[in-house]
Symmetry: C2
Subunit: 342 residues, 2 copies
């Protein structure tokens, strides 16, 4: 009977598009133009290797969550110009550039064998093409002629870079606390989410309270999204041992589930964490043991609660913004980014 | 007698500071403040590794040629504000970031054994700390509140990144012509030299002709500087086989001396170049053979002539700028960057 139930569920799903899909549909016209801009601007007259590398990433058909936030924020604030398209392309370029730079690995990391984009090209291309996308993003935002937008994106860039370095030093460090984790999450995800939403409001000429609400929405949504991602890496609350599980564990990342489990650890359990995360001596069965400890202390469930609280904070911020379809979609999106792991 | 002659020459040198040293002395007060700004802005509250990595590069006491150009251009155009300090720090940060990203190597390159900064840290730190410096540069230029400055630096960033990628694909490609070489040199050196000088004029509120002259000066100076550097890598016109010779040859870079020697090559000589540069099969004595071929065809002498022509173009551009001590120093600087290799 199981296959029939699955088929029925799939049908229900296809009848009820997710909040993300509805947001994508509502902004499909704008997004089509953003994609055209992205294609035009990643071309290089002098260095044909550039579109070779970027096409792989940009055309891969990601969720385009960040540019969607910019488009949605501008629309929500009644914008009728064209600059929001440039800003949406800007945030997607910045995102793609950080992915490329994140792909740069060292020999030791490469030996661990996770395939990344830079096995198709090389470290050097990943760095330089990422730099090219940053420069293109920079040109696009200058074209909007709005210093305030540049200020927001410059500050976001600094938080992103700082967070990436912080993540590097925090990994495998058992002393990493929740405040540091939050700072890493801000850099890794929330800073660009917040800036993406905020610049949409700024370009629309929204008032101070609305712009601040958009920034808060993006920040909280980004944190909720990243915590949910980190939870998913341990199989979600039900600790489903699917195929994409345990990457963070193997890379000894101090994500919230680990931090919470460690905070409640007995002396013996602490020795386990010190071995697998602190010293990186991992053996067969260690991931299962980690999951068992997380289950025992409720770390996965409490991580989900924290993600839900951030989603609630995102929804609350929307109260300061004009009601309507766009706001409703953003409201549902906040719960949706967390619901995928529950 | 030789040691005494050397001592006498050293004394003469100490009595006659170089044009660069005189420019540094003339701008010492401003540069002190730029250094303070650099130190303050490279600090990171959240990621203490950042100043660890950057201190090595920024404190190393380089020539500070790029920020000097900004300071000199602003002074030359009668600027009396403070934003030129921010712009000087900006261009030094951009320069340092590109050095860090240039240090990223692949396993194959690493095996060739040239020590780079990233043996002290790692690829990942070089990339992320470079990104942090780019972001800091971005923040500094936004603080000047001048869109025109942002436009110039955004365009320079794109040329720099494009040139770096182009250099990657041009290396070991015997088909690389002088136009491509020039584009690489623009990206590698001249684009930032030109932008550094141009933004100094813009922030000073200089007229269009003066700003254009500063950009041309920086562009030509940068090209002259880079061609001279590439010539120096083959020992200068006298092909002095000093200790820092032949890096470009080993890395199979298509620099001007090689392009010129290849253009005049006999069929047998062409086979030599195809082996050592095209296929990278290098043996003992190949560098000496390359130098002999360059000597035979006058490639080093003609490369020097091209560098001198660029220096002359730089000096000519100065005609549009206010006469005085600062302009004289820039005039002498143009010849000086080439004279070091003659």
């Amino acid at each position: 009977m199981a296959p029939r139930v699955e088929a029925a569920e799939a049908e229900v799903e296809s009848q009820a598009p997710s909040p993300l899909e509805r947001l994508q549909a509502a902004l499909a016209g704008d997004m089509e133009r953003v994609n055209g801009l992205i294609r035009a601007r990643m071309a290089s007259k002098h260095a044909p290797r550039i579109p070779e590398v970027t096409a792989h990433l940009v055309e891969a058909g990601g969720k385009r969550l960040r540019p969607l936030l910019t488009l949605a924020a501008a629309r929500l604030c009644g914008y009728e110009g064209e600059h929001h398209l440039r800003l949406a392309a800007t945030v997607e370029f910045i995102h793609t550039a950080t992915l490329l730079h994140d792909d740069v690995v060292d020999e030791s990391a490469r030996r661990r064998g996770r395939p990344t984009a830079n096995l198709l090209w090389d470290n050097k291309s990943s760095v330089l093409v990422g730099d090219y996308l940053f420069a293109r993003a920079f040109q696009l935002m200058v074209e909007t002629g709005t210093l305030r937008v540049l200020d927001i994106l410059a500050n976001a860039s600094a938080v992103i870079a700082e967070g990436e370095v912080l993540q590097l030093t925090a990994a495998s460090n058992l002393g990493t606390d929740e405040a540091t984790y939050r700072q890493v999450v801000r850099g890794k995800t929330a800073a660009l989410f917040a800036a993406a939403a905020e610049v949409g409001g700024v370009i629309a000429g929204a008032g101070a309270a609305e712009v601040a609400a958009l920034a808060t929405y993006g920040d909280a949504l980004g944190i909720a999204f990243q915590i949910a991602d980190d939870l998913l890496d341990y199989g979600g609350v039900s600790a489903n041992l699917g195929k994409n599980i345990g990457d963070d564990f193997r890379e000894r990342k101090m994500t919230l589930p680990v931090i919470r489990a460690l905070a409640e650890a007995s002396p013996v359990e602490r020795q386990f964490w010190a071995r697998v995360i602190g010293r990186g001596e991992q053996r067969e069965g260690d991931l299962e043991q980690a999951l068992a400890l997380m289950g025992r202390h409720g770390s996965l469930a409490s991580t989900l609660e924290t993600a839900r609280a951030e989603a609630a904070r995102a929804r609350e911020a929307l109260g300061a913004l004009p009601p309507g379809e766009m706001r409703d979609l953003l409201d549902e999106l906040a719960d949706f980014v967390v619901a995928r792991v529950a």
